[in-house]
């Protein structure tokens, strides 16, 4: 789960990471009240999970109340790369002497947290990594040992931060590492980490990704999930216990197992089609699970045809067929379905479907054949 900037900063504050004082606002009125309280100049910042919002007009500095009102009004409801701004974060404007970059990343390859520090802050870090990799100091931390003071010093000296802030920057890294482990994040990123003319060190931005699998241990964080910012079909699927990812095409897909589901999308694309979604029905072959899946797939009005790709292992194809027959009785879909049933009880499943004579349903026994058929039906 990705947090908004202000949610990340509130987490930072709880762990003692210095951040500018601020308040969230979701109306112009709230924004002006927050700005009055914080004082001027202050920053009016769009809260959307996308980089580069400053360049797109999503961050403005207000010198007075009139400007705060004007900017809040302009930014609320603004569309930033397809995301609508519903919330603002108002914070005291910071004077900047230097901009650095700091992050703690869950490094899957090394199977250890990776801490990074660079004096090239305020830029796209992937670009810095490509063009000037030496500008980023990196260090893996043994997760059984945790972050030590010397780690902070090494990174600070190696990255070349100003000598007088080596200690506070190192201390900030230690606290960011604490956020990473205590909140069970997979990413904690500060870009820019700033040094003020008074030589204060602060996190001016916050990008935090939390591990969904660990949210049960962090109910406060789990409550931060903003369903209105998520795709409505994905929310609907989640409520039904299904794993669904919305895509751009017009062929609805249901398969069992994550790997086979991904593979099904690829095979459809290879056959010249465009998948509308990823949907892993898991072991859920029962009628209610299949009805729920069909409902979610068809709630995307772009869908012109649907492919069911089931390879029965533990899942039995005859159960899937029964589920589908029941789902059809309840939903009465208007688009054609191609159903590929193979593996455990595949023949029985196909026979059941043939007997039921569902309207507009085509049974196939191979994955490639089914993909070709559904592409033909959708075009």
């Amino acid at each position: 789960m990705d947090l908004l900037e202000y949610q990340g900063k509130q987490l930072f504050a709880r762990h003692g990471v210095p951040v500018p004082a601020g308040k969230p606002a979701s109306t112009v009125q709230e924004a002006v009240a927050a700005a009055d309280e914080i004082g001027y100049p202050c920053a009016v910042k769009a809260q959307v999970q996308i980089g580069g919002r400053g360049k797109l007009g999503g961050i403005k500095i207000a010198q007075n109340r009139a400007e705060a009102e004007q900017y809040a009004d302009a930014i609320l409801g603004m569309d930033i790369r397809g995301l609508t701004v519903h919330e603002l974060w108002i914070e005291g404007a910071s004077e900047i002497a230097s901009e650095y970059y700091a992050s703690v990343v869950f490094d899957r390859s090394a199977k250890a947290p990776l801490v990074m520090l660079s004096t090239k802050g305020g830029m796209d870090i992937e670009q810095v990594a490509d063009e000037d990799p030496d500008a980023i100091a990196t260090l893996h931390v043994d997760p059984l040992l945790g972050f030590q003071d010397f780690h902070g010093r090494r990174l600070a000296f190696e990255s070349g931060v100003d000598a007088d802030v080596v200690r506070p920057v190192g201390a900030m890294l230690a606290k960011l590492y604490e956020v990473f482990t205590a909140e069970e994040a997979t990413l904690v990123e500060v870009n820019p980490l700033i040094v003020t003319p008074d030589r204060d060190v602060r996190a001016l931005d916050a990008k935090v990704t939390l591990d969904d699998n660990a949210l049960y241990r962090h109910p406060d964080n789990a409550a931060l999930r903003d369903l209105s910012a998520e795709d409505p079909q994905e929310v609907m699927a989640k409520e039904r216990g299904l794993t669904y990812v919305k895509l751009d095409g017009n062929i609805g897909i249901l398969a069992n197992g994550a790997g086979l589901s991904m593979s099904t999308l690829d095979v459809v694309a290879e056959a010249g089609g465009a998948p509308a979604n990823f949907l892993d029905a898991g072991g859920g072959s029962r009628a209610d699970a299949i009805t729920a899946a069909v409902e979610v797939i068809l709630s995307d009005t772009k869908v012109k045809a649907v492919l069911f790709n089931i390879f029965g292992g533990i899942t039995r194809c005859d159960e899937v067929a029964r589920g589908l027959i029941e789902a059809f009785a309840q939903i009465e879909p208007t688009v054609p379905f191609v159903v590929r049933l193979d593996g455990t009880n595949g023949e029985e499943g196909r026979a059941l479907l043939a007997e039921a004579k569902l309207p507009n349903v085509y049974a196939e026994s191979t994955m490639d054949g089914a993909a070709a058929k559904v592409v033909e039906l959708a075009s």
Partner: protein, 291 residues
């Protein structure tokens, strides 16, 4: 021969008294796996269809000589159960559980690595099957016959799909190893491919990867340096959009990293044949074996 599980396997299931744990443990026993014990804290002294249940892994090892563990407990208890099995001296731990917090996996991985006593397969994997010898996990064993193709995969159903096409062409498997779809697998492609390289029965290796991480890229380097047997690859997720988790916690393209295209290119560059569909993989395998 085969790898990891065989007739010497003495299995103990953690979570044996749960619905899934019971179902799959008994299936494994029906297949011929020696299932010697189960562990459910508080239910020591009971039995599941004649399999003795113990309170701790230590008891299961002391009294029944368990050497392999299968973890079926819910995610919040899984890391603890893996660490308990390792502490009790179990050498091979196969974790089926899906949804374990990533930081738990990090702690478990690094602890096992430091102690060097146990190998972890998974989490979030379908298990291991050595046809005709032993099945540990949830792989539908009846589709597969003993043979000379070693399969290693991050995905369950996709493995069944590829194995099934191979079986229909008349080929069997030495072992099928599911390494799981999580970001921190206990055992990686490289480890398993190395075991297949050393296994005299395995003549061809099939590896099924997917988007996310760089395990396939690292495997490509390893294959070039250390593997003389033919390897056929497959990557799932060419159509996956960046930033979206595709079912498996580990199947995510992060920025420009972990794409299927990059993985395919890495493998192809090292001489590995990569099929674009499961059928192509099976066909390439058949063509190689028939030579």
């Amino acid at each position: 021969m085969s790898i990891l599980v065989d007739t010497n396997t003495r299995l103990c299931t953690s979570g044996i008294t749960g619905r899934e744990g019971t179902f799959h443990t008994l299936r494994n026993r029906d297949y011929g796996t020696q299932v010697v014990a189960g562990v459910t804290p508080g239910k020591g002294g009971q039995d599941v269809d004649g399999i003795p249940v113990f309170n701790t892994f230590h008891d299961a090892v002391d009294k029944q000589g368990a050497n392999t563990a299968m973890i079926f407990v819910p995610p919040r208890f899984a890391a603890d159960s893996i660490l308990e099995a390792e502490d009790a001296g179990i050498e091979l731990i196969i974790c089926i559980t899906e949804g374990i917090p990533a930081h738990d996996e990090l702690r478990v991985y690094n602890t096992l690595k430091k102690n060097r006593r146990a190998r972890l397969i998974g989490p979030n994997c379908p298990g291991i099957l050595s046809p005709g010898k032993a099945s540990v996990g949830i792989i539908p064993a009846s589709f597969f016959n003993a043979g000379n193709v070693g399969v290693v995969s991050r995905s369950g159903t996709l493995t069944y799909q590829i194995g099934y096409v191979l079986a229909q062409s008349g080929f069997g498997n030495s072992s099928i190893v599911g390494i799981g779809g999580d970001p921190v697998p206990g055992t990686d492609f490289i480890d398993v491919i190395g075991m297949f390289q050393d296994d005299p029965e395995t003549e061809l290796i099939v590896m099924c990867g997917e988007i996310g991480g760089d395990a396939e890229e690292r495997a490509a380097d390893f294959i070039e340096e250390s593997v003389t047997k033919p390897v056929i690859g497959y990557i799932a997720g060419f159509t996956a959009p960046p930033g979206k988790t595709m079912g498996h916690a580990g199947a995510i393209v992060s920025g420009s990293h972990g794409t299927a295209v990059a993985k395919e290119q890495a493998l192809t560059a090292k001489g590995v044949t990569v099929g674009r569909t499961p059928t192509q993989v099976a066909e390439a395998a058949v063509a190689t074996l028939r030579g």
